[in-house]
């Protein structure tokens, strides 16, 4: 039997409006699922059960009242937020010891908009420390386990949000995507992960990692839900100077229009060495499905693909080393005493940051230091231009590009922790969309021979969210992915 917590937000929205179920019932279903599974999955760092009960009661009043017809899609739907998103009065740790006790005095804009629409907060999800990682093993509070196989990683850095949605512990969730941190865990966890155009969603209250790349993204169990969630949180925000001057609108409009005549480019570089056969076959089958739906398919080369990873691992750590200078033991978080302020700061940061964060701060500090700036950071910024030109050339011929989201399916916890370069290779197909600011989405395309989910990535030009979502929706309907983690299926049995 399917529980309420296994339905999509749009299915639940219909039930809520028909009076067939209530928001408190949906919350109870999610919290029961968390109780049942989260001791083994470890998706949540902080639960907000009391708040969820209050907010769901308020949402029920809205949905049962005279203005029910005006209620937004998010009304009464429980959500989980990655712990890098600030929530007033609710601890926000970034998965780091240095912020273990930090309680933000304000809300991030996405949550402000969700709560104004009647959204319900279930809690804050586990993630790689300061969103740096591809496996969720860099959390100071322990790894998240993949609901499809508890010995595997869920991907990262938004691993908790991905696992929560995959296991029915939340209906949908927010994460952040700097180099693939929404799409890659969505791929490894069998859910829909969507990174919109850079600047479409305000980052006010998102605790910064790499500011020219950081993007808020969504985890859902359908493309329709991704469109609804984006519609709730997107649009100009005076509190974020990088937010784009886009009006708020309904991104679900035109979702059913199909892909007949659409020109689909398959990225040749994304099917080469290092891509697992199970991934390649599943994504190829997805491409065939698009062709059957009436799209025209061709191969396209993005010649600088192999340099994107190198550029990213200079640009992101450089920006991180600057952003993370704020953790100095003065205004918030951990402080380790020292004889003077410099010693205090140095000891605080030494004790508060984990290994990956230290690695990236060191990498970025070096890349920006006198004598090395031009060779590393300067050159990386030029490569960024070349990547953007590659994509612009491809989009002159094609409307949407296809690749695997990640070269592999989920890998065992511990398998790559001692080899940072091998870990960074997980992001090879997701990074270009961050460097170029383009919207990209990962949808489940099937299971590999071990029963682990494969993700297919679609990329569209800047601000072509509608085209991207329409394509993803058509493909999702054609694929009909309805597998569920054994862990969840066993609960029902």
């Amino acid at each position: 039997m399917t529980e309420l917590c296994d339905l999509t937000a749009s299915e639940l929205g219909a039930k809520l409006r028909a009076g067939e179920s209530s928001s408190p019932e949906i919350v109870a279903s999610c919290t029961a699922r968390i109780d049942a599974l989260d001791d083994s999955v470890r998706a949540f760092l902080t639960r907000t059960d009391d708040l969820a009960r209050e907010q769901s009661a308020a949402a029920d009043e809205l949905l049962g009242g005279p203005n029910a017809a005006d209620a937004a899609p998010a009304a009464g739907i429980p959500i989980a937020l990655k712990d890098v998103l600030s929530t007033r009065g609710v601890r926000s740790t970034c998965g780091s010891k240095i912020l273990e006790t930090y309680v933000p005095p304000y809300d991030c804009t996405p949550w402000q908009r969700l709560s104004a629409d009647g959204g319900v907060l279930l809690g804050k999800t586990n993630c790689d420390e300061f969103a740096m990682g591809s496996s969720n093993e860099n959390s100071a509070f322990g790894p998240v386990h993949n609901p499809w196989n508890l010995e595997m990683v869920p991907g990262g850095s938004s691993g908790g949000s991905a696992a929560a949605v995959a296991a029915g512990m939340a209906i949908w969730a927010l994460g952040t995507d700097t180099g693939g941190s929404v799409r890659q865990p969505a791929s490894l966890s069998g859910v829909v992960g969507f990174k919109p155009t850079y600047g479409l969603i305000s980052r006010y209250g998102l605790i910064a990692f790499a500011s020219s790349l950081d993007t808020v993204g969504t985890f859902t169990r359908s493309v329709r839900d991704a469109a609804a969630l984006l519609s709730t949180i997107a649009g100009k925000d005076p509190m974020d100077a990088t937010s784009l001057d886009t009006p708020r609108r309904d991104y679900a409009e035109g979702l059913e229009e199909g892909v007949a005549g659409l020109r689909v480019g398959v990225i040749s570089e994304a099917f080469g060495e290092g891509v697992e056969p199970g991934v390649r076959d599943s994504v190829r089958a997805g491409v065939d499905a698009l062709e059957r739906l009436g799209a025209s398919v061709g191969e396209v080369s993005l010649p600088h693909t192999n340099y994107a990873l190198s550029a990213y691992y200079l640009i992101a750590p450089s920006e991180a080393s600057s952003n993370l200078a704020r953790y100095d033991g003065v205004r918030y978080g951990l402080r380790v005493d020292g004889s003077d302020s410099v010693e205090m700061m140095t000891k605080t940061r030494g004790a508060g940051f984990g290994a990956e964060v230290k690695r990236r701060i060191m990498l970025g500090t070096y890349a920006l230091s006198a004598g090395y700036y031009e060779a590393y950071y300067g050159q990386a910024q030029k490569v960024r231009t070349l990547i953007i030109r590659d994509y612009e050339a491809a989009f002159a011929t094609y409307d949407v590009l296809v690749s695997p989201t990640s070269p592999t399916t989920a890998f065992p916890i511990g398998a790559k922790v001692d080899d940072p370069l091998a870990m960074y290779l997980n992001d090879v197909f997701t990074i270009p969309a961050n460097l170029s600011g383009m919207p990209a989405i990962s949808i489940p395309s099937g299971l590999d021979e071990r029963g682990l989910p494969v993700g297919l990535q679609l990329t569209a030009p800047v601000l072509e969210e509608s085209r991207l979502l329409r394509t993803a929706h058509a493909l999702e309907q054609a694929i009909g992915f309805d597998a569920r983690p054994a862990l969840v299926a066993e609960l029902a049995a």
Partner: protein
């Protein structure tokens, strides 16, 4: 070839205390990562302009209006040490 890095110098710039073990590991790992990353130098010609933001914006203004600041009490509640509505830090100037 792996890149040689003066770890202690970089750590000092980053205000980051490292154990000897951490420093040794970082020397090796950063050397390998930078060897890979240095490939950015192979492709970008002189005439390629750098990109700092994919979607560039400049001079983003908003109306200069007074709005309430964050509640002092909630802000200072996060401070490791506070006194008289201020953050407290170790002495940074000598008093005669």
């Amino acid at each position: 070839m792996p890149v040689e890095i003066e770890i202690e110098h970089v750590a000092r710039l980053a205000r980051l205390e490292l154990t000897d073990e951490e420093a040794g590991k970082l020397r090796e790992q950063l050397g390998a990562i930078l060897e890979h990353a240095a490939r950015v130098g192979e492709v970008a010609a002189e005439d390629v302009p750098p990109t700092s933001y994919a979607i560039p914006r400049s001079n983003v203004f908003r109306p200069d209006e007074l709005t309430p600041s964050l509640p002092t009490e909630e802000v200072l509640a996060n401070a490791p040490e506070a006194e008289a509505d201020r953050f407290k830090v170790p002495r940074i100037v000598e008093v005669e």
